[in-house]
Amino acid sequence: MKTVPGLALLGGITAAAVQPLTPTGWWLNSGRGVAITTIALAVLAALVAARLVKWPVRSRDAAAMSALWVGANIGMAVMLFRAGPGTIFPIVLAMGAGISALAVGAGSLAGALLANVFRRDAG
């Protein structure tokens, strides 16, 4: 269970670190921001899943990837509140949570599947 807080922290730091790279400093303000953050989260999730998630996936692995997603959302929320949350911030956070869930979910599955294929080939 040590991985859960660690992954949450990793997700938070990565998501927060990506924000200054987006055109307006907040990912949901532009299409490019959405693309950059989504790709960053998916790649991070794929790397983490490739390293940690063993096939078949257990509930502990799912919890680890969920921690990554929750952490990423906390990191992004901190960045949003630092920049000024705007008048519809709960809606913004909900939208962001949905899109980041897809990114982390897709990345995790891709990473786990690829790692499984390579492990099988190596074995």
Binding site: P23, P56, R82, G84, T87, I88, I91, A106
Partner: protein, 401 residues
């Protein structure tokens, strides 16, 4: 046994992976669909009238149909009268209390030469009747994707007059014209547009042609008056795609194509017309006046209010009074999408009730009106997602207002 169970699990994960890929695909498909303006997304809903529809010229014209967005139509709806002056006459369009539009086309001496009546027969459908010298020349439904506005009616009436009062017409872009392609933008034929809004606000746009030797480019100049007093002006320079504005004590600035390219719009998405400039002037004036008033009220109220320790800590982290930018704050990615009206309605609601984002944290801290604004915004987003994803059936009541 163990092998079979592992095989079953493996299959389950493949199903899950497939579902995720399908979800990602759906998200992008939905986003693309969401970016299409509502009027274009559901054209089939309109134009179901009792009159036969006019033919549409298939080749492109200089007067193509353009959806100007919910905010424009909301503000344009505040106009009571538009007077458009041309080189050879005048068209005056009036909006009645019922929303129907009556337009008179006159010659330079003021003699009526044509009359266009546009009646809103349902929320989405309109019909138009054109008469000249007391004779009905045609009666037809308005093209489904055309949203009748006062300036459109004025240009339409003038176009029919220029076409020699035809009885057989076809749609050429957003205007019904005599058969046979009629090139040229009708907006270019206007010399002056005066828009009279409610609450005694009037905007007037004229063409300015620089004198020889003057270091200026041709432009249009809009002046807006509140109870007869000039309160601001806008200049549009078509050759540079430059818009400049100045509203005393409210806002001053300029925007170019390059500036807009850095925003989600990606540049001018339409060619600003003189009637648009009048509506834009009203937008600048009313929104900035309200924001200035609401901002002052909010700041004063925030300063007056006693603060708890928690609130003080919160304010040290979060900006106390956040500027309310046009569009979807923090979600400008969706500014050009079907969600935009939700954001505009929420912004207006905030301005009217003098709210800021604190109303989300603790509703009674401001007024229950602010809670109403927030609830409506959430409901608007929720129902829009339900409508665009076609999931209304799973959420009964989410798609009705």
């Amino acid at each position: 046994m163990e092998y079979r169970s592992s095989q079953r699990r493996f299959r389950r994960w493949w199903v899950l992976a497939g579902t995720f890929v399908a979800m990602v695909g759906l998200l992008y498909a939905w986003r693309l669909q969401a970016q299409v303006p509502a009027a274009q997304a559901a054209p089939a809903l309109r134009g179901v009238g009792r009159l036969p529809a006019l033919a549409v010229l298939t080749q492109p014209t200089d007067n193509e149909v353009k959806d100007m967005g919910g905010t424009f139509y909301f503000l344009e709806g505040k106009a009571k009268k538009v007077t458009a002056r041309f080189a050879d006459g005048v068209a005056i369009a009036d909006r009645g209390m019922d929303g129907n539009i009556r337009t008179r086309s006159t010659d330079l001496a003021g003699n009526e030469v044509g009359k266009l009546s546009v009646d809103q027969v349902s929320a989405r459908d309109a019909e138009m009747l054109y008469e000249s010298n007391g004779t009905q020349l045609f009666y037809a439904p308005v093209r489904p994707d055309v949203r009748p506005t006062l300036d459109w009616a004025a240009l339409q009436a003038h176009a029919l007059r220029r076409d020699g009062h035809p009885s057989a017409v076809q749609w050429q872009g957003r205007f019904a014209r005599a058969r046979g392609a009629r090139p040229g933008s009708l907006d270019d034929a206007v010399a002056e547009v005066v828009t009279e809004f409610d609450q005694d606000v009037t905007a007037k746009t004229v063409r300015v042609t620089p004198k020889p030797g003057e270091n200026k480019r041709p432009h249009t100049l809009t002046r807006i008056y509140d109870a007869g007093v000039e309160v601001g002006e806008i200049a549009w320079v078509p050759s540079q795609k430059l818009l400049m504005w100045s509203f005393k004590g409210l806002t001053k600035g300029s925007v170019t194509e390059e500036t807009l390219k850095k925003t989600p719009s990606g540049g001018w998405t339409f060619q600003p017309s003189m009637a648009w400039a009048n509506v834009q002037a009203l937008a600048f004036y009313t929104f900035h006046t309200r924001l200035a008033k609401a901002g002052a009220v909010s700041v004063a109220r925030n300063d007056r209010e006693p603060r708890s320790l928690g609130r003080k800590v919160l304010e040290s982290i979060v900006r106390p009074v956040e500027a309310n930018a046009p569009g979807c704050d923090g979600l400008h990615w969706l500014d050009g999408s079907v969600f935009r009206p939700c954001c505009d309605a929420h912004d207006l609601c905030y301005v009217k009730a003098g709210c800021n984002q604190y109303s989300w944290y603790w509703p009674p801290s401001m007024s229950w009106a602010c809670t109403g604004c927030n609830t409506l915004a959430v409901y608007c987003f929720y129902s829009t997602i339900a409508i665009t994803t076609g999931s209304c059936v799973y959420m009964p009541g989410a798609c009705t207002w």
